[in-house]
């Protein structure tokens, strides 16, 4: 990420997936690297359960308008999330979807976004680490692998601040898994 550039990330999925925490971890990592951030989410206190959205803007200088307007990355972890909050992307946007639980929607194509990265995130996590916890961290790994928006070390530190000791190892493996998935994909070159 260029020092002056504004980096915008939007993540969407279902309530329990920890996407908001994911965005906070990434925000803290960016702060550790001296960046400015604004993190926000749809706040569902009076709209139970369902779909969630987390947003993060990272910049090396003051962030005036705090919300995502033209995301660099859109990560969608459920169909419903993509339906509700998948708008507002552009040719600039790298879209990540979890192909293990989602069907690729028609509206995502070369015209509407920069790239579509369809990865079987949930199923890979379950297969490889035999757990569903850490889905948000795998996603952070994917985003990190894709953008390198912060250094991996900082990201690990930020994760460490938020997870209990006994889960640290699992989470580090989840992060690695995410990054690996991007690498593998990059090698095959298959995206959409």
């Amino acid at each position: 990420m260029g020092t002056d550039k504004r980096f915008e990330l939007r993540m969407t999925g279902s309530g329990g997936q920890g996407l908001i925490l994911g965005s906070i971890i990434l925000a803290e990592a960016a702060i550790m690297e001296g960046k400015i951030v604004t993190q926000s989410q749809v706040y569902g206190a009076e709209a139970r359960g369902g779909t969630t959205k987390a947003e993060l803007v990272i910049s090396s200088k003051h962030i005036a308008y705090p919300k995502v307007t033209d995301p660099d990355v859109l990560a969608a972890m459920t169909d419903e999330g993509l339906r509700q909050y998948g708008g507002g992307i552009s040719r600039k946007t790298e879209v990540i979807i979890d192909s293990s639980v989602m069907t690729t929607p028609d509206f995502l194509n070369e015209e509407s976004c920069r790239d579509l990265l369809a990865l079987p995130i949930r199923s890979t996590l379950v297969d490889r680490l035999a757990t569903e916890l850490g889905l948000n961290i795998v996603l952070l790994g994917v985003i990190e692998g894709l953008t390198g928006v912060v250094s991996v070390e900082t990201l690990r530190k930020a994760i460490g601040k938020h997870v209990k000791k006994q889960h640290l190892d699992l989470n580090m493996r989840a992060l690695d898994l995410g990054m690996e998935m991007v690498e593998a994909q990059a090698k095959t070159g298959i995206r959409i």
Binding site: A45, E46, A47, R48, G49, G50
Partner: protein
Amino acid sequence: MRLDFLRSERLPNIWCPGCGNGIVLRALLEAISQLQLDPDKVVLVSGIGCSSRAPAYTAFDNVHTLHGRAIPTATGIKLANPDLSVIVLTGDGDCSAIGGNHLIHAARRDVDITVVVFNNYNYGMTGGQASPLTPAASITTTTPSGNMDRPFDLVNLATGAGATYVARSGIYFTKHLVDHLRKAISHRGFSLVDAVAQCPTYYGRFNRKGSAGQMITSQKDWMVLKNVADKKNPEELAGKVVIGEFVNIIGARQADIDAAKEQS
């Protein structure tokens, strides 16, 4: 339960998986079905809270008012049109915190409405804060080290305020619940049913009450029928919640007024 009492096009409801509200709502619709009330003459009035969303899933006239204000609104409706069966669906916070004054005054006036309290021991809607019915020592988002306040006993409160029909039931005991809802609605005068429900998302999770299924079946363990409880001593009842009918007085208000007139 008459399925046409449900406004199916608005389902699924917004409640979390395992939320007790749907069970209370179903029991209420069953009670109304059994009473064969004219659906044109039933109005459900609620305040604000997860539970207060219940009326809007029914096919009846329904009024979703302000937080705590269902009871005075219902009072206005009932007195404007006494032909209606006016039923208030409210949460423990809605009716006993911000709405506490209206509750006791409706009980005192013996206005002919029925108040069904969806009692899940906390404020679900705003994220699991303590309510005046949150048990002592419980964890909520505003009692992080355990609730230092004592809760109201809603039955005692309503009774102390002069309610003429007071009952309590739990969502595990659906037949019991339906029976008491039916009696409450038929009661001429103010009636209240404390329907102990559950909020697995907040109260259940914070206090390690297990899954929604465990929460509901556990009512068998910590609830005691009133006729059973009446034979037990206080020690045996420690930690138990008694369910059943506590007050059922007919014509109390008129009798009181007549008596007073005679005196003076």
